[in-house]
């Protein structure tokens, strides 16, 4: 059978497979894609795959791994999320962002949730990312989490869960935009049977949110993107966002603070800056407040923000909200601040400060995933079932010495999607990072997101900094919704073509040159 020759090793019993419900049986939503792919042999797939790679290396879509510029491998097969699934996911993400905003506002304000014992005070004071300097710095639109990336996984039963929250400087949205561009160019035929939400609205949304966060009284704010520079792994993204928003991409040395006002140096002298979308970590942001050896920061920036002449987005000190230990309290925070039940579950997690949990985890370390609470990019994660005995022994000692520094989670077999590796399609584990923008009035979730793939067989760490790849992520439009209002760009062009005849209900008229062929 063709199916077995193109898709191998699919075994939905180990993990939830997004495409196949049983070997050889595609889920209805993927049926068209599987049908199309049946017509491709390994050489065809290799050709398409290389084509995608070429598009990326020509456009310079790269990330830096260990100092080397590499393309971020884009897989051929998209990951599809239905309108109903997406409705649940985006509502859950919105809820989570609202709760984290409320938490940050509280923690850098009165600290009511600490007084009420929802979150232990020690958790805040011991968090390496809690930032006293942030107290009293509130953006005009009260949105501290302008951009968030809430990482989602799908467990063995098909249930979406939150894996971690990223509310400092989540990256990856540029790949969402570039993946879609490359896929429509190289593999447009796949889109013809689906109505896929476009993803190109993101930059305009982000710019609007940033402008809304501008200091009071600034009628036409100047927004900039602040990058640590060309050697940052996400530099490509900084460039893309600045370009798509039509704002300047600045480095620390381009900015100067004079009398608590931030300016950028231009060929025509200094020009005021009102909103800084910064892609530099707190600790490097201002050598006067944080690390004095920072050469990528801007001296005096924090004081200017405190004087309300400039907005820093995302806000200072957000790291306390994506501390992995705090993550275990987020369901409580949702109940406390919003009075709602959490729409998305966490992954079952253990606080190691609790003696009983610590004991359980130390005893059965080979069953758990252990993460440092302030890590990002997959750094320092130990996956128990895949670790050797020496690693586990070392980890036990570390955990005994610093239980506050880590959390443990049940090892979840992330869902799989067939992925092109070694000239065939084989299941690989994926996660999903949707991006949300809070403009102060509304939390908008980009319909799509970055599906990251762990390319080695069985691997569960998907971060690009760990050598992962990605997939174009399609959120399907709700077919029951009313037609799009005129002028709105709701569907991709390929999809629009495929629905046009049935909408018109009329036979196409032959063009001038088509007469002799008979337009059947």
């Amino acid at each position: 059978m063709m199916i077995t020759s193109t898709f191998i090793d699919i075994d939905p019993s180990q993990a939830w497979d997004e495409v196949f419900s049983a070997p050889g049986v595609p889920r209805p939503i993927y049926k068209e894609i599987v049908d199309i792919l049946q017509n491709f042999n390994a050489d065809d797939l290799r050709f398409r795959f290389d084509q995608l790679g070429r598009t990326f290396s020509e456009r310079g879509v790269t990330f830096a791994l260990g100092g080397e510029e590499r393309p971020f491998p884009l897989d051929l097969i998209p990951r599809i999320i239905t309108a109903i699934e997406w409705g649940g996911l985006s509502a859950g993400i919105q809820q989570r962002v609202h709760a984290l905003e409320a938490f940050l506002n509280d923690v850098y304000g009165h600290g009511q949730c600490l007084d009420d014992g929802i979150v232990p005070r020690a958790l805040i004071t011991s968090s390496p990312n809690f930032c006293r300097e942030a107290k009293g710095i509130v953006p005009e639109n009260a949105a501290r989490i302008t951009v968030s990336g809430i990482d989602i996984i799908r467990d063995e039963t098909g249930n979406f869960r939150v894996l971690e929250d990223n509310v400092r400087i989540p990256s990856g949205v540029s790949y969402v935009i570039e993946n879609r561009r490359a896929m429509t160019q190289s593999f447009g035929s796949l889109f013809s049977h689906y109505r896929v939400h476009p993803v190109d609205e993101y930059p305009a949304r982000l710019l609007r949110a940033l402008r809304r966060s501008a200091p009071e009284g600034v009628r036409n704010p100047t927004v900039v993107v602040l990058t640590p520079g060309v050697h940052n792994p996400a530099y490509f993204e900084h460039v893309l966002l600045a370009r798509l928003m039509g704002v300047e991409l600045v480095e620390g040395s381009d900015l100067v603070v004079m009398s608590n006002n931030v300016h950028m140096r231009t060929t025509q002298g200094e020009r005021p800056v009102h909103v800084i979308y910064r892609r530099i970590d707190d600790k490097w942001l201002d050598p006067l407040q944080f690390r004095p050896d920072s050469i990528v920061g801007v001296a005096g920036l924090v004081n200017a923000a405190r004087a309300k002449t400039v907005t820093i987005a995302n806000a200072l000190g957000n790291g306390v909200a994506d501390d992995k230990l705090l993550y275990t309290y987020v369901p409580e925070l949702i109940r406390y601040f919003l009075g709602e039940e959490p729409l998305l579950d966490n992954v079952e997690s253990y606080r190691l400060g609790d003696a009983e949990s610590l004991h359980e985890v130390l005893e059965n370390l080979e069953k758990y995933v252990v993460k440092p609470v302030d890590g990002s990019g997959g750094k320092g994660i130990v996956i128990g079932p895949q670790a050797d005995e020496r690693t586990l022994t070392e980890l036990r000692a570390i955990l005994r010495g610093n239980p506050r520094g880590f959390i443990a989670q049940r090892t979840v077999a992330l869902s799989t999607v067939p992925t092109f590796v070694d000239n065939h399609l084989a299941p690989r584990h994926v996660d999903l990072r949707p991006f949300a923008i809070n403009d102060g009035e509304e939390v908008w979730v980009l319909p799509g997101g970055l599906t990251r793939v762990a390319l080695p067989k069985g691997a569960l760490v998907v971060n690009s900094s760990q050598g992962g790849g990605s997939k174009d992520t399609w959120v399907l439009a709700d077919e029951t919704l009313a037609p799009t209002p005129p002028g709105a760009k709701a569907w991709t062009r390929a999809a629009a073509h495929s629905v046009a005849p049935s909408v018109n209900g009329s036979v196409r008229q032959p063009g001038p040159a088509a007469g002799s062929r008979g337009d059947q």
């Binding site: 290396s57 300047e248 991409l249 608590n260 231009t266 060929t267 005096g300």
Partner: protein, 317 residues
């Protein structure tokens, strides 16, 4: 009125323009020399190669023998020296990469795919001879120049790119002519020089001077319409600076670069083509000084303004 662009970006664009032009010009010069050497098997190869290194401003001890292999490794394929062709392409790429948000995607893709193809082109050149590599670099430079003119607004971005290109061109034309003065017997003849400047056909079409050295020197320095003549490059540079000045709000500081360029332009304007050869050393010296001085003045005027930092008390508003 323009709001001005980031000084850092302006500098990156200026150098992108310079390096692309340098890669182009250097490949023309090296090509001309290699042809010359191939056509004249009895000439002093070592001396010819030494004069080539001297034109490109690279110090080589006269006692060290240089052959074509040295020329290729050090002037063509060296990746670290921005005066070598490959080094200049890589430097242009690196500058453009950091100014990627202000140039067009097509310009960026042009430089990026050029960089990506360098290795392939070198292997090809090792098979069929260096001319294919040199042609590749010239073609890509021409493509970049075309995209520069056709795919971005002719505003500050373009002005700085073209300003860099023009100043590099003035410098390279002066260096090329200087080779006749430095070591006339080892350098290419005048017609080869014309070819090295990409000026052969334009010269033949408009000139009646044949291979008269005076006429050729006049064409490369004084011609009003040939885009690689020193005069024309000065005119273009002056126009860029004029547009930049007009767009700017800074009337407080005199733009020294413009003064430097215009003085050189005026000097050329009133040169007598008939006595050009006798004035050549002085004129070439002037051109090189003009290029260097203008570069410094543009740098301090547009790229490196020193802002006075005023310290405020903590928490002050």
């Amino acid at each position: 009125m323009s709001r001005g662009m980031l000084s850092r970006l302006a500098e990156l664009l200026y150098w992108t323009g310079r390096y692309v032009e340098r890669a182009d010009d250097t490949s023309r010069i090296v090509d001309a020399y290699i042809h010359r050497i191939a056509e004249d098997p009895f000439g002093d190869l070592n001396a010819a190669c030494h004069s080539l290194f001297a034109i490109l401003g690279m110090e080589v001890d006269a006692s060290i023998p240089i052959n074509q292999e040295t020329v290729l490794t050090q002037l063509v394929y060296d990746q670290l020296n921005p005066s070598a062709i490959t080094g200049a392409v890589l430097a242009a790429h690196e500058n453009a990469r950091r100014a990627r948000e202000v140039i067009s995607s097509e310009m960026w893709v042009c430089l990026n795919s050029t960089r990506n193809d360098l290795g392939l082109q070198r292997r090809e050149a090792e098979r069929v001879g260096p001319a294919s590599y040199l042609k590749f670099v010239r073609d890509r430079s021409a493509l970049f120049a075309g995209l520069t003119d056709a795919t971005i607004s002719h505003d500050e971005t373009w002005w700085f790119l073209v300003l860099g290109r023009s100043l590099e061109r003035i410098d390279m034309t002066a260096r090329l002519l200087e080779s006749r003065l430095l070591a006339a017997e080892h350098s290419p003849d005048w017609l080869t020089l014309l070819r090295a400047a990409g000026a052969m056909e334009s010269y033949l079409r408009q000139s009646t001077g044949g291979s008269d050295p005076e006429a050729i020197a006049a064409f490369l320095i004084l011609d009003r319409s040939f885009p690689r003549s020193a005069y024309h490059s000065l005119t273009v540079a002056d126009r860029c600076l004029e547009d930049l000045t007009r767009a700017g709000a800074r009337s407080d500081v005199v733009n020294q670069a413009r003064r430097t360029i215009r003085m050189a332009q005026t000097r050329l304007e009133y040169s007598d083509p008939r006595s050009l050869l006798s004035e050549l050393p002085e004129l070439l010296e002037l051109l090189e000084q003009t290029s260097a001085a203008a570069n410094d003045q543009i740098t301090s005027y547009y790229f490196r303004q020193i802002a006075a930092v005023v310290w405020e008390a903590e928490g002050a508003t």
